[in-house]
Structure formats: structure tokens, C-alpha cells
């Protein structure tokens, strides 16, 4: 069941966060947002979300770096991470997964693709 599960959306594009939030809320998820990697790391330590949707291309701390830090943290490494990537190169995806991400999705994607990944990693 998606009810009550909290997802943290990390993306520097507010419009994208808003579009994803609308759909995921309609599906019954609780959505929290962060606009950059630094903000995200603080948020995660405080609120311990059930799943993280993380954009790769962000200023300062990019998605790979956020991913690496989370997966190195014993208390946080269990949280599933889905990377949003703009590139279709398989090596970039390997790199993302190498940093410990649990899955990735390439922009532009469709909701059903994102929803099925979320459900899969939340064991819904």
C-alpha cells in the first residue's frame, strides 16, 4: 500500500518537482521536496523518508555525490534511491548504480514507469 509512505523528491527544477508531486500525491504518497543536494542531506537525516527520487544534474552537490554520501552512511543506506538522469548512455547509468543507486529512469519518462519503480522498491 502506498498510503503513508513518504517520498523525498530532490531536483533543482521546481516545476518538475511540482508535476511529479501532483501525480504521486494522487497515488496516495506523502511528498517532501528538496531543491539541492545540501538541503536534501539535511532533510534526510531529520526525516528519514521511505524512498528518494534524485535528479543527477544539480548544481553544487550533484545526484551522484548525494547518492554516494547516503550509501556510505550506515543509518541511511537502506533508503532506496531512484536516479533521474537526462542521459541515455549506459555507462552513466552504470556509474549511477555504482554509486549505490537502486534504480534509474531516463528523462523524459512517463509516470507509469516511475510509479512501477517506486512500488517495486517500496515492496508495495
Amino acid at each position: 500500500m502506498s498510503q503513508g509512505k513518504t517520498i523525498l523528491l530532490i531536483d533543482d527544477e521546481a516545476d518538475l518537482r511540482e508535476a511529479i508531486k501532483m501525480k504521486l500525491e494522487a497515488e496516495g504518497y506523502q511528498i517532501e521536496q528538496a531543491a539541492n543536494g545540501v538541503e536534501a542531506l539535511e532533510h534526510i537525516k531529520r526525516n528519514n523518508p521511505d524512498l528518494i527520487v534524485l535528479d543527477v544534474m544539480m548544481p553544487e552537490l550533484n545526484g551522484y555525490q548525494v547518492c554516494k554520501r547516503l550509501k556510505e552512511d550506515e543509518k541511511l543506506k537502506h533508503i532506496p534511491i531512484i536516479l533521474l538522469t537526462g542521459r541515455a548512455h549506459s555507462s552513466d547509468q552504470f556509474w549511477g548504480l555504482g554509486m549505490g543507486a537502486n534504480d534509474y529512469i531516463t528523462k523524459p519518462f512517463e509516470f507509469h514507469e516511475l510509479l512501477s519503480l517506486i512500488a517495486q522498491h517500496l515492496n508495495d
Binding site: 527544477e13 516545476d15 518538475l16 508535476a19 511529479i20 501532483m22 501525480k23 494522487a26 544534474m57 537526462g86 542521459r87 541515455a88 548512455h89 549506459s90 555507462s91 528523462k107 523524459p108 519518462f109 512517463e110 509516470f111
Partner: protein
């Protein structure tokens, strides 16, 4: 010693810079709005190239600049990919929110408009992807990995993706693949792009059937995709593989419209990367036939 080293490295870079110069020219064509920015870079590249071919007072610093420039240009495509895909994703997902009723119920008329917008977002997405993959192929940014493939298995797999589309249009797919075929050494992703392109073109024009034929001799393999549509007028044949030369299609819905870059991409992949040849034939009332040959000896790793 330092001079000689500089000269040697410089010489190695000249062809790279020439490719870059050419790629920049192409980028100017595909991103007209970026011309003013690009033109400056373009001139810098030409300047650097001239400096390198006739080294005046060689300085390592200058070489470093060249490398930085090169890296920046190569990164341009990746940055462009991100910058173009972000807004597309937002529009696409927002339309989906409308269509699926997340934002409240819609009338039939409103749904139709949303659908039309969605198709055109798909079209714009495909165009973006085609422009970027062409730019990657042209500036050598595409990652190429050649693998030995079982020809029949590879072809059948790609063609199977088109079965549903063909069935919906009542078009029969005929495969004429000999039982014994040599292995092919190809980049699977790129070759799939070629076949998919030819198959979707054929599906756009075919009336009742598409025939895919494979033959091989000791040196090369020949693969052709033949539809039974109206065919192509002879005067269009020579320009087909140029960018944006696609024939204006009459009232196809945007969902299946071609981007005008598909055949240019095919040519790059077949001829520049795999060392083959691609061409088109059309016989009056006999439909269009696109064929390509691939050398059996792997040319990928030159």
C-alpha cells in the same frame, strides 16, 4: 625537446579539431538560436587549429587551452541534452496529470486537445533525441561497442518490436532470412537504431506488406527493407540521407511523423561507424526499398 613534443601533440589534435569544426558547423545548423554564441567558439577553434599547424612560440598553456576547448565542446552535447530534456519532461508529465484526471475531470474536447499536445511533445522529444544522437555521432561522442551477433536472432528481435504496430495497420511482415548466416560484428544499440528507423519508415508507407531480406557472400551481408507503398520519386532519391530532407508527409498524425533526421543518422551509423553502405531504390508502383551492406570483417576498432 618541448617544441617537438608540442608539435607532435598538436599534429595529433588537428584532425580532432577539424572534426570539431565540422561538428560546430552542424550544431549551428541544428541549433540556429545558438549561432551567436557558437560562432565565437567556432572562430576560436579555427584560430587554435592554425596556431597548432604552424606553431609560433609553442607554449604548453596554449595546448591546455585547446584541450579545455575541446572538452567544453564535447560536453556541450551532454549539457544540451539535459537542458532540452528537462522542460520536455515537465510538459509531458503535466499533460499526463491533465489526461489522467489528477487535475479534475476533462470534457471529450479537452481530452482531444491534450492528446494532440502529448503527441507533439513525443514528436519534439524524438526530434531532440535525433538531433543529439546525430551530434554525438558527428563529434565522435557516441560510445561505440562492437559485439559479435547472431544475425538472424538480432534481426528477428528488433523486428518483433514492430509486430503490434504492423498488425494494427493490417500490414504483413515477411522475413526472408537464410538459415545459415555468418556472424555480424556490430554495435547492437546503434544497429537497432538503424533497423528501427527503416522499419518505422516502411510502416508509414506500406499498404499491405513489408519484406525484410538478408543475403550474404564471403565479404559482406546485405539487408533490405522493402515496403509496397507509393515509392519515392526519383528526384528525391539522392537527397534522402541528408538532414531534414524527409518528404513532407500528408496529414500523418504527429505521433508517427518522422523527424527528418532518421536516415541521416542511419547513414552515419552504417557508413562511418560500420564501414558499410546504405542506399534507397524505388521502382514505380513497387514501393521503396532501403538496403544496407555491412562488411563481415569488423571495422569498428580501427
Amino acid at each position: 625537446m618541448a617544441n617537438l613534443k608540442y608539435k607532435n601533440i598538436g599534429q595529433k589534435m588537428v584532425p580532432e579539431l577539424e572534426t570539431l569544426e565540422e561538428a560546430l558547423g552542424h550544431l549551428e545548423t541544428v541549433f540556429p538560436e545558438a549561432i551567436s554564441v557558437k560562432r565565437k567558439d567556432h572562430q576560436n577553434v579555427i584560430k587554435l587549429k592554425n596556431n597548432i599547424s604552424t606553431p609560433p612560440k609553442p607554449k604548453i598553456e596554449r595546448l591546455k587551452n585547446v584541450i579545455t576547448q575541446l572538452k567544453l565542446q564535447k560536453e556541450f552535447v551532454d549539457v544540451a541534452a539535459h537542458e532540452l530534456k528537462a522542460p520536455l519532461t515537465i510538459i509531458k508529465l503535466s499533460l499526463e496529470n491533465f489526461k489522467t484526471g489528477v487535475l479534475g475531470p476533462l470534457s471529450e474536447k479537452q481530452k482531444k486537445v491534450i492528446e494532440r499536445m502529448e503527441w507533439n511533445v513525443i514528436r519534439l522529444t524524438r526530434l531532440t533525441e535525433d538531433i543529439l544522437s546525430l551530434a554525438r555521432l558527428e563529434n565522435g561522442r557516441a560510445k561505440i561497442r562492437c559485439l559479435q551477433q547472431e544475425t538472424a536472432k538480432f534481426l528477428k528481435n528488433v523486428i518483433s518490436h514492430f509486430e503490434d504496430w504492423a498488425e494494427r495497420q493490417h500490414i504483413r511482415l515477411e522475413l526472408k532470412i537464410p538459415k545459415k548466416l555468418p556472424l555480424l560484428c556490430i554495435d547492437v544499440d546503434l544497429m537497432e537504431q538503424v533497423l528501427s528507423n527503416l522499419m518505422s519508415n516502411a510502416l508509414r508507407y506500406a499498404k499491405t506488406k513489408i519484406i525484410v531480406t538478408v543475403t550474404a557472400n564471403a565479404h559482406e551481408m546485405l539487408i533490405s527493407v522493402h515496403d509496397d507503398g507509393e515509392g519515392i520519386q526519383e528526384e528525391h532519391l539522392p537527397n534522402l540521407f541528408q538532414k531534414f530532407s524527409a518528404l513532407k508527409e500528408s496529414s500523418q498524425n504527429a505521433k508517427h511523423q518522422s523527424t527528418g533526421l532518421g536516415l541521416a543518422i542511419c547513414k552515419k551509423i552504417i557508413e562511418d561507424i560500420h564501414g558499410g553502405k546504405i542506399w534507397a531504390e524505388s521502382l514505380k508502383k513497387m514501393g521503396a526499398k532501403f538496403s544496407f551492406s555491412l562488411p563481415l570483417q569488423c571495422l569498428c576498432e580501427k
